[in-house]
Symmetry: D3
Subunit: 338 residues, 6 copies
């Protein structure tokens, strides 16, 4: 039951200082390419689906490198337009202990993705080809042009009956002062189009300006997700709550709200190797569970373990197979198998 | 009181992905050469003994690399026959957190060691030269030919009065379905020849199909080791019990059974850098303790600390000196010495 | 005018010692995956075609790594069967000066490709999908099983009207003593099926046991290619003559025989970075030229420059685009463009 | 006789693929920071002068890394303003043989340097502090704002009696179509301010639209430099002619025009490791020769050898001392000294 | 309120085995340059001060590399004399778990610093230029010549009114048997000159042979620091107490004694990446706090957090800015900021 | 006909900057261990002999690393005394083009070898065990103590009938001003003891102050070697003449003088990867040829090709087998064998 799925999003070049040096100490970088859409599709391709990225990259050596990398991750590059001049980048310096990891963005505003017009993309062809399409709040924060393409594609997908997934993924730095106010109308547009939404109680409270009468987190989630689901007519809402125990130990619990019922995953505490992209692993787990017809409990456990495992791999992009995840769901920590 | 010791066993090429990437993510490998016999002899050479490996490697660039590596580890290559065509290999991807380490074997069945005939080795010369000889259950699992050489050499050693060491080291994947049944007769042959045996209660129960009337682990060990020692006329039996606390934290306790008395080491809990080969460090510690005339308590503490330290070094092969081990036995964790 | 093209061939793991150390001096390896079919398809995908590899890889971490790598090269993995247990390997030590490069093969006889039965592959589906199919004399040397699959697929392709390409690629070490005699019948079978053949005068003389009355190389080529084309009814025959000037400087000249006329390329002398796979670049250039309807002169120049450029890139696999090649065909060596 | 010298110019991040891989093949980059001003000052600091860069870098991790790197090169960072958001970058893939090196620029238009207003820099303080100031045609190509700062600073320097150096360094890609016409007025402004100019006959013919009646290169240079020197009242004009023998072998000859006399250096043919920045080494050699009072012959030989040696070092930035250069001027190629 | 500060001390070359291999296992080293004076000045330059190292390095490639490295760290090299022949070195093998880190010193006795005569340094010029000067007990342990320079410079500084800082930093291996007795007179000389002293109760008891009537550590510190401050007329005494929880987890608490009052910092427990140089971070924090007029509580918290953060960075040398430290003082561990 | 051979000489740590960076540009080093004795014995062990190094190394981590490395090279460490404190080192920066390679020695005067007393070594045992012993002029330059051991061992060897080999290897920097005068008496002592001497006409003229009446190099060699052989009663004298064509291309011709006849090898011109240690490869070739009874022509060709091949391998130490050398002697440059 492999599905054809698309995601609309930017491909960013990740330039990471190896080990624990700062940029001012080191002289080499490891590079890869990622982005929410990239991560979600790569994860889904590891679950057996066919993932088509809808994006834009420049027709130069950086764009070539990005496309090769996408293909290596198992992603189809059919809908990656080669236009524009720049690739968005981020430099990553790993933190240690009390010293936090540091991300320095570069060159994002002029990237091919952020400057591509809507007609760059053959939207009707895309819509015709895929069954599921994923959007993300990060792209929504970019500029008017990107939002236009996003909403056009979302409406076409809705109309054609594609399953629309929207990950709220609110990034304060991108929206700036008074960000929630600015973001709200666009978020609402997307929510009206979405079948599956990834969010948690904070998005409801801050971005959607909803209120909760409850004191306990679990009750807040139940109450708010019920309201959101009803207001925007969303089939499935899912999200996580994360607790940072220490620099290299996090706790995660997922929830899923479907058919007016909210189900929580078990609580997972685990060591952290690379935190970036772990939210996208959760999204991909939810999509896979829904598409495969897992029950809510199984879906949310699967997604939470997928996210947990994504903390244990190098790079932003999840690489676990369904089998890898199921083994951890069933298992206990064991010795090397040989 | 340096002794001349031999070990019969395969040399394998270990090809490890650096850091925490998977084979499908990385593009470089670190290689080294190891194997139970290699590890035991290298450890013993760090204790001041002279270790002769009895093995076979192809007369090509891979074989040359293996021999150079053995020499670097302090092992004598006099009895390493250069014949056949292939080197057994294993690829290692390091696990992290809930993601386990993964070993992928390659090319083992046709290796020079596994295809060498008994007459490849100058067994009389070997027997004449050494005082101790080590065998391992992994080699026993290989094929009829290897078993033949192993038992011939074991019998010659026994007859000449060499100290024979046998590490049970049962590998389920190598024996396949119904493995314990298949393995039993060969294990019994070796046990009849052995002076020192490395095993624990699981080997007695599963491979030797013995039964215990006890509920507690300590009692089971005492009861079963007494039976084994008597049945096969073995002077020294030693082994460990390992508990996997988490991906990078293990607990280990050793025991030794000698003169009808079982002595347990103190319990060691420690961080794990590289678990492979740590059992061989324990064996080497037991051999050294017996040869040097340490009492049972000292011997089992020494071997357990040797094993613990082997978890802290890069690669399969132990590199601690007697002095390194004694300092840990006596000491507490300290600051950098400078 | 992008075409769908297939190639039948083994995927090998290339494990190269970085720099100029020997295996016994170094401790790291760089790995990639290649093979004649891989190289030809990757080159063709850089010319805008769609390349489908027909091969087999084990369902383990090495197989996963190989598939990711194929995708990164731009190759479609639809027809790569995941079965068997092993991947063929070769270790490469770079030569320098009078010290030649050294290749050590490992683990080839039991590879998934060499042990896969004909029915492993969905041949009818492949034939239906592609317009061109490439075979190579290396696969022909493997074993009866591989030859059976190869000839079955070739006959089906011929019947359906696919363009069949056969690269003679005779490897003495694989055929052993009296190799040409052993190889001849199989080569003849393939030649009867082929539309395009890559070979030179040596293949005609040694493998096909033809004789030439000429003394000069050019005349020999003209005479022999005419005979071969006629005897086996081949549309296009092309090949190269290589002269090794020194360790890092080679000379190459291509020829093409079509419609009873033999055309030679200009002579190229150039520095060599990595010689392996450069013959596959030539083949891909010939295929591209024929498919695009280049005239003979342009086709053979294009293929020869493609091969020359393949000596200048890292790894076995050509990565030049049509544009890269045309620029060299037209141009002269220039300063950095910036 | 150490002098205080300034240079006005952008600091660029150089991100180089190690070895000979393309960006789409590799996964690591080596980074450093360079630029014409950086290179000239670093070279001059190796000759014992004190070099102050006048530039702008963002107050983030990339800017910190750049400043540390400048300091490491021996450059004073007193006049490096920390403002703006971006660092200009270029990615470098090394060519080999017929495959040329490839430079991909990124993120240049929004760099801190290119967006800094004139008042960002404390020009009076700079002028008061230094004796020599260097400008470059690359900065002139950037935008109106950069040109404004450049000319303001040039005029202040002229007035105060600083020695003004201008390197014509015309970059066709930056000026675009009809570039020489666009560039001419700005070049003329700078030439009127300059005491030392780095250029050759091509700049005179194309950018300054001068004409020569001579056929031979030497005569053209003599004729044109005489006209330029007179027209713009320039004390010293110097430049090089380069011949690309092959990918890794260049030939270089320098000239200097002073007091109405043109002197040529001997012709140097040499292997090339890294060509970028070698022109800046020549400029620094001319500046040093003039400041130290070398005669024309010595000055131009010194500068040409400085440039030749800059082809032999890693990175854009020259690192030779005066002593290194003099030894080559005097010497012949020798064995290792030990 | 940036100050000009000097430190007198040796520059050592640190040669570290990457990862966790031993010197006998590895074949590469990472090198950098450090030393107490280097570390303190680099830390202070990150706080906005100007740091001048008073040291000596040979006029060869190693000395050049050291000077470049000092500059990269933000240190001024004006007072680094280029004389003598050797650089002191230490080789570092990283410990893991029960296996301790190991430092092997090399080539220290003949280093340029340890063989430089007092007149090598232009002491009057230094004294005239700087406001604060730092000395360390390690240099005091070297030899008569070094001690002579140190005390001459200290006396000149005292006389001129420079703030003199002395870090007791007693190294048992350098002083040898009966070390405290040997060291005492020199320590007392320095204490008489010092305004700020870094030490703890152990220095008072062992080196200064003082006695305490108290049982509790806090009381001992209060009592002893009061005595020391009075006896030697010292304005500020500060120090730390460290507890080694495990190989990679330490606990630290700082104290400061000023105006007869002892103030303790909060207790910090944290993971350890690189312990070397963390004491120097503490000193630099104390100096900065005093110079900036922080109150005692703020000063000791600032210094303790500076030291804690220094455990989290690569290399000996602290790289935290005042802002980095203040954020940790105020904050809690957070997610990646992006 | 494998022989037991010893060499007396220092083990030095070679610390090389990878690639073409200078020490002030890089931050990693590759290390290995070499020395004339090491190189000669390693080469001889590749020819099937057993090589025992007579040397001294400190009982610390550096000494351990050196011993492991010697063993890896195939050398026996039985006579390597573990005493003293330091290891001599040299740092190597690779030259390129006109920029020469640069060697910076460190820490040599206090090395274990240079401070070991004669009685450190069990000379009678060594003499009893070996058949050939090698000395080198570098050790002779060290100090009185080293010379004493060297001459004592030489005399004992002579007396017992060991074959004594002396490589003149005059190093001007070690002997200093008026070096030949200082060196002469010690050289003469060794020459009187030697059976095989490695030298050329320059050693005869400068160190031995002999005069030649001839103008042509060949005649000078014939004349001078005849005189030397007679005067010091030496059976075999051999040496090379090197011409540096360019930075990476040398020409070499060997000669051998035996039984009053001088035979020259063919002239070899070849690319150079690593020149250091190539002279030791020549010596080992001569020793092997003499011991195996090759005729003069074969011996000198073998030694010259051994030396040529040593220029093509990484590191100081030759790694060619007899078979490698013979293939080059017979062959021509060929394509990759596969």
């Amino acid at each position: 039951m492999s599905r054809r799925m698309a995601a609309f999003g930017e491909v960013m070049m990740r330039l990471q200082v190896p080990g624990y040096e700062l940029l001012k100490q080191a002289n080499t970088l490891q590079y890869s390419f990622s982005g929410t859409g990239v991560n979600v599709l790569a994860a889904l391709s590891h679950f057996g689906h066919k993932g088509y990225l809808v994006s834009a990259l420049p027709p130069n050596a950086l764009g070539d490198a990005a496309v090769s990398y996408l293909r290596k991750l198992g992603i189809e590059d059919t809908y990656v337009s080669r236009c524009g001049h720049e690739v968005g980048m981020y430099f990553l310096e790993n933190g240690f202990g009390a010293r936090p990891s540091r991300v320095t963005y570069a060159n994002r505003s002029l990237s091919s993705f952020n400057t591509a017009s809507t007609k760059t993309f053959d939207l009707p062809h895309i819509i015709k080809n895929v069954e599921v399409i994923h959007f993300c709040g990060i792209a929504l924060a970019m500029n008017t042009q990107v939002r236009k393409t996003m909403i056009t594609l979302g409406e076409m997908a809705k109309e054609k009956g594609c399953m629309v997934v929207f990950d709220c993924n609110y990034r304060p730095l991108l929206w700036g002062d008074n960000g929630h106010e600015k973001a709200r109308p666009y978020y609402e547009q997307l929510l009206h189009l979405a079948d599956i939404v990834i969010m948690n109680e904070k998005d409801a409270i801050h971005t959607l300006k909803m209120e909760t009468t409850k004191m306990e987190l679990d009750d807040q989630i139940k109450e708010l997700m019920t309201i959101v689901a009803e207001k925007y007519q969303i089939s499935v809402i899912a999200g996580t709550n994360r607790k940072i125990e220490s620099h290299d130990k996090h706790t995660l619990r997922g929830f899923i709200h479907r058919n007016k019922k909210t189900v929580f995953s078990s609580i997972r505490t685990f060591p952290v190797f690379d935190r970036i992209g772990s939210g996208d692993a959760f999204s991909s787990g939810i999509i896979h569970g829904v598409v495969k017809g897992f029950d809510s409990r199984t879906t949310v456990e699967f997604a939470t373990v997928a996210s947990m495992l994504a903390h244990s791999v190098v790079g932003d992009t999840p690489v676990s197979t369904e089998n890898d995840i199921v083994k951890v769901m069933e298992g206990t920590i064991g010795d090397i198998e040989r």
